[in-house]
C-alpha cells in the first residue's frame, strides 16, 4: 500500500506515483469539463444557426458611434468598431489615470498636513469616496450633475473659453495644418534627447538646479521652434454660441466627463491612501535630517521624502491603475462607447457571436493588464535599484 510510505516521507516528497496519478486525474477532469462545454456550445450554436469563427469582423457594422478617434461610419466593419471601442477605452483610462494620480497625490499629502482642517477634509474625502460603489458615483456625476447642467444658452463658462452645459464640456481646439507631424516628431526627438542628457549627467553625479531647466528646454525647445517657424497651429477655435448650440472648439460628451470624474474621484481616494502610507513608510530621521540641512518643507518633500516613498507607492499604484482601466468598462452603464459597450454590447447583440466577442474582449483586457503590469514592474525595478545603490 502506497499510503503509509507517502506518509513517512511526508509533504516534501509526495510519492511519485501518487503525484502523477493525481495530476493526471485533475487534467483529465479539466479536459473533460472543457470538452463537455465545447460540445454543448457547438450543439447550441448549430441549433441557433450561428456560424462560429471570426468572419463577422469583416461585415458591415451598420450602427454609428458617437465618439471615434479614427474614421468610422455606419458603413465600417465590426472590426473597425472594435478598434474604435478599444481606443475609447484607452482614452478614458488615460484621462482617468492622470486625474486620479494628481488628485491622489494632492489628497495623500494633504492627509498628512500639519494643518488640522486640511487633514480632516482630506480624510472625509477618502472615507466618502472609497466606501461608495463606483457605479453609484458614475451615475451621480452623469445623471444628477451633468444632466442637470443648463441649456447651451445658459452655459457655465470659464473666462469665455471653456463652457459646460447639458451637451458636454466645450473646450478650445487648436487649428492645425498638415505640418503637425513635424512638431510631434520634434517633441519626441527633444524628449528622447533630454532624457539621454539627463541620464548622462546623473551618472556623472549630481544634477544642479539649472540643469533641470536646461533639460526641459531641450525637451520642448525643438518642438516650440518648429511650431513657431512652420506655423502649424494657426489659431484656436474657441467654442461660441450659435443659435441653440455651440460651434467651434472641441466637445467632451457628458458620458466621457461623467465617467472620467467617477473613475478619478474613486481611484483618487485609493491612491491618496497609497501615497499616505508610502510617505509614512519613510523613516522619520530622513525628514529630520532634511530639516537639519535647512531644506524647506516643499523641497524636503520633493527631494527627500517622495523619492523614497515611491518605492513603497509604486507596486500598489500599479494595481490601482489596472483597476481603473478595468473599471472603465462601467461605461456600458451610461452609454459611453467603450470596448465593452460597443463590442460586448452592440456587436454581440447584432451578431450573436457571444463566444468570439467575449473571448476577444477578455483577451484585450488581459493584454492591457499584462502590459501595464510589465511597464510598472520595469519602473519598479529601476526605482528599487536606485534606492539600493544609495
Amino acid at each position: 500500500m502506497a499510503r503509509p510510505a507517502a506518509r513517512r516521507v511526508g509533504l516534501a516528497r509526495i510519492d511519485r506515483f501518487r503525484a502523477v496519478a493525481v495530476q493526471g486525474l485533475v487534467l483529465a477532469g479539466v479536459i473533460a469539463l472543457a470538452a463537455w462545454f465545447v460540445g454543448n456550445t457547438l450543439d447550441n450554436l448549430a441549433q441557433r444557426g450561428i456560424a462560429s469563427g471570426f468572419g463577422f469582423l469583416g461585415s458591415t457594422a451598420g450602427f454609428s458611434i458617437i465618439v471615434h478617434l479614427i474614421d468610422y461610419s455606419e458603413l465600417s466593419s465590426y472590426g473597425r468598431a472594435f478598434v474604435v471601442g478599444l481606443l475609447n477605452t484607452l482614452l478614458v483610462s488615460a484621462a482617468g489615470i492622470v486625474l486620479a494620480s494628481l488628485l491622489g497625490l494632492l489628497v495623500g499629502v494633504a492627509r498628512l498636513s500639519d494643518n488640522w482642517l486640511v487633514a480632516r477634509l482630506a480624510t472625509v474625502y477618502v472615507e466618502t469616496f472609497r466606501n461608495l460603489p463606483l457605479l453609484l458615483q458614475i451615475f451621480f456625476w452623469y445623471f444628477a450633475v451633468l444632466s442637470a447642467m443648463p441649456q447651451p444658452r445658459q452655459s457655465h463658462s470659464l473666462f469665455g473659453l471653456i463652457f459646460l452645459n447639458n451637451r458636454g464640456l466645450y473646450v478650445p481646439k487648436p487649428l492645425v495644418t498638415a505640418d503637425l507631424w513635424l512638431v510631434a516628431a520634434a517633441l519626441a526627438g527633444g524628449i528622447i534627447l533630454a532624457a539621454c542628457a539627463w541620464r548622462w549627467r546623473r551618472r556623472r553625479g549630481g544634477t544642479a538646479r539649472w540643469e533641470g531647466a536646461a533639460a526641459l528646454a531641450l525637451a520642448f525647445g525643438p518642438a516650440a521652434a518648429v511650431a513657431a517657424l512652420a506655423g502649424p497651429v494657426t489659431g484656436w477655435a474657441v467654442p461660441a454660441l450659435r443659435g441653440f448650440s455651440f460651434e467651434g472648439g472641441m466637445v467632451l460628451i457628458p458620458e466621457f466627463v461623467g465617467l472620467v470624474l467617477g473613475l478619478s474621484f474613486y481611484t483618487g481616494a485609493y491612491i491618496a491612501e497609497n501615497v499616505r502610507s508610502g510617505i509614512l513608510a519613510v523613516d522619520k530621521g530622513q525628514r529630520e535630517a532634511a530639516q537639519a540641512l535647512g531644506l524647506s518643507r516643499g523641497r524636503t518633500l520633493r527631494h527627500v521624502i517622495l523619492p523614497q516613498a515611491m518605492r513603497v507607492i509604486v507596486p500598489p499604484l500599479t494595481s490601482h491603475y489596472l483597476g481603473l482601466t478595468k473599471n472603465s468598462s462601467l461605461a456600458a452603464a451610461i452609454g459611453y462607447p467603450d470596448l465593452v459597450s460597443v463590442f460586448a454590447g452592440t456587436v454581440l447583440n447584432q451578431t450573436g457571436q457571444a463566444v468570439e466577442v467575449i473571448a476577444i474582449t477578455m483577451a484585450v483586457y488581459l493584454a492591457i493588464s499584462l502590459a501595464i503590469a510589465g511597464a510598472m514592474n520595469l519602473y519598479n525595478r529601476r526605482v528599487v535599484r536606485i534606492g539600493e545603490s544609495r
Partner: protein, 375 residues
C-alpha cells in the same frame, strides 16, 4: 475661569494647528471657504428646506430635497418586487442571521466553531426556504427579488461561496504538483486580468451556451456563479499571502510529526494562515459589496438598480439626487462599518500576535480563539 483657560488653550491650538505659517493660514482660510460654500447649502437642501411629510409628488414643494419620494418607494428599495405580504420572511431570515452572527463578532465567545459550523450548514437551507418559498410558503421567483435584500444576498452568497474556492486555488497555487499549480495560476491571473462586467456578461450570455440544450438556470444563480468565481481569484491571492506568512519551520514540524499533505494543511498551516488574512477577507467583502451594483447591467435590481429604475419613473422625474443619496447612504454605512471592523481585527491580530510570541501556552489559547476555523 474654566472658560478662559479653555479659550486660551483653543487659541493656542488654533495657532499651532491652523495658522502656524502664512501658507498654513491661507490653506485654513481656503478650506473654510470651501466648507462655507458646500456645507450650508447641502444641509439646507437635505434637511431645512426638505419635504418629509406627504404621500405623493404633489407634496414636494421644490425648495429642497423631497424625501417623500424615498418614503413612497422605501418598500421597493428594501425588498424589490417581493410581495408585500411575504416580506416578513426576508425580515425573519435576516434577523436569524444577525442573531447567529453576533456571538461570532464577539471577541471571546465560547463554542464559536460550533456556532459557525451550524451557521454554515443549517442556515443556507433555511434562508433559501424562507426567501424562495416551498413547503407551505408561497413561491417567490428570484426575478421579484431586489433592493437592499438582493444586494445582501449577492454579497453574502458571493463571499461564502468564494471562500472555499479561493482557499483551494491558493493551496493549488502553492502545490508541489506542476499541473495543478499551472491550472490554478492560469485561472487566478486570467480572472484578475479582466473586469467583473465581462465575467457577468459571460455568465449571462455564455453560460447558457455551455450547458446542454434545455438545461437553463436562474439568472440570479448565473450571476452568483460568475461573482463567486471572480472573487475566488482575489480571495486566493489574499489567502496565498497568509500561507506565505506561515514560517517554513511549521511545515517541517508537521512533517516531523508524520503528517501528510492534507493533515499538514488542515491542522497546522491553514489555521495559522487564515487567522492572518481575516482583515484581507473583510477587504474583499467590502469590494464585493460595492461590486454587487454591477448586476444591474445584466438586468437584476439590486439597491442601486432599483433606485435607478425608480428615478427613471416619469412620475418621479427630477428626484434622482434623493435616490442616489439614499442608496449611497445605505452602501456607505455598510462599507464604512466593515472597514472599521477590519481595522479592529487587524489591531487585535497584531496584539494577539505579539502576545502569542511570548509563551507557547498563550499561543495555543490564541489559536483556539481564532474567529474562523476551517475544518
Amino acid at each position: 475661569m474654566e472658560r478662559r483657560i479653555g479659550l486660551v488653550a483653543a487659541m493656542a491650538w488654533a495657532r499651532e494647528k491652523l495658522f502656524s505659517t502664512p501658507a498654513n493660514a491661507a490653506l485654513t482660510v481656503g478650506s473654510l471657504a470651501l466648507l462655507y460654500w458646500c456645507v450650508p447649502p447641502a444641509l439646507d437642501w437635505m434637511i431645512f428646506s426638505a419635504d418629509f411629510a406627504g404621500e405623493s409628488r404633489a407634496d414636494c414643494t421644490g425648495e429642497g430635497a423631497c424625501w417623500v419620494f424615498v418614503k413612497a418607494r422605501l418598500g421597493q428599495f428594501l425588498y424589490g418586487f417581493y410581495p408585500e405580504g411575504e416580506r416578513w420572511r426576508v425580515d425573519l431570515a435576516f434577523a436569524l442571521l444577525v442573531a447567529a452572527c453576533l456571538p461570532l463578532a464577539w471577541p471571546r465567545f465560547p463554542a464559536k466553531g460550533k456556532i459557525a459550523a451550524l451557521l454554515l450548514l443549517a442556515y443556507p437551507p433555511v434562508a433559501i426556504l424562507l426567501f424562495h418559498g416551498g413547503a407551505g410558503l408561497a413561491v417567490v421567483e428570484t426575478a421579484r427579488w431586489g433592493g437592499l435584500f438582493l444586494t445582501l444576498v449577492i454579497a453574502g452568497v458571493g463571499i461564502v461561496a468564494s471562500f472555499p474556492i479561493g482557499v483551494a486555488l491558493a493551496l493549488g497555487r502553492r502545490s508541489p504538483l506542476p499541473v495543478v499549480k499551472a491550472l490554478c495560476v492560469a485561472f487566478i491571473e486570467l480572472v484578475r486580468g479582466v473586469p467583473l462586467i465581462t465575467v457577468l456578461f459571460m455568465a449571462s450570455v455564455m453560460l447558457p451556451l455551455f450547458l446542454p440544450e434545455g438545461v437553463s438556470f436562474d439568472k440570479l444563480l448565473r450571476a452568483l456563479v460568475g461573482i463567486a468565481l471572480f472573487y475566488a481569484a482575489y480571495m486566493a491571492e489574499v489567502v496565498r499571502g497568509g500561507l506565505q506568512a506561515v514560517p517554513r519551520t511549521q511545515y517541517e514540524a508537521a512533517e516531523s510529526l508524520g503528517y501528510g499533505y492534507w493533515q499538514t494543511m488542515r491542522l497546522v498551516v491553514l489555521p495559522q494562515a487564515l487567522r492572518h488574512v481575516i482583515p484581507g477577507i473583510v477587504g474583499i467583502f467590502i469590494a464585493l459589496f460595492k461590486d454587487t451594483t454591477l448586476v444591474l447591467i445584466i438586468g437584476l435590481f439590486d439597491l442601486l438598480g432599483i433606485v435607478q429604475a425608480a428615478v427613471s419613473d416619469p412620475q418621479w422625474i427630477g428626484y434622482n439626487v434623493e435616490g442616489y443619496v439614499f442608496a449611497g447612504l445605505g452602501f456607505w454605512i455598510f462599507c464604512f462599518a466593515l472597514s472599521r471592523f477590519s481595522q479592529f481585527l487587524e489591531g487585535r491580530l497584531a496584539h494577539t500576535g505579539r502576545r502569542a510570541r511570548r509563551t507557547t501556552k498563550e499561543r495555543q489559547m490564541a489559536t483556539l480563539d481564532a474567529p474562523l476555523q476551517v475544518d
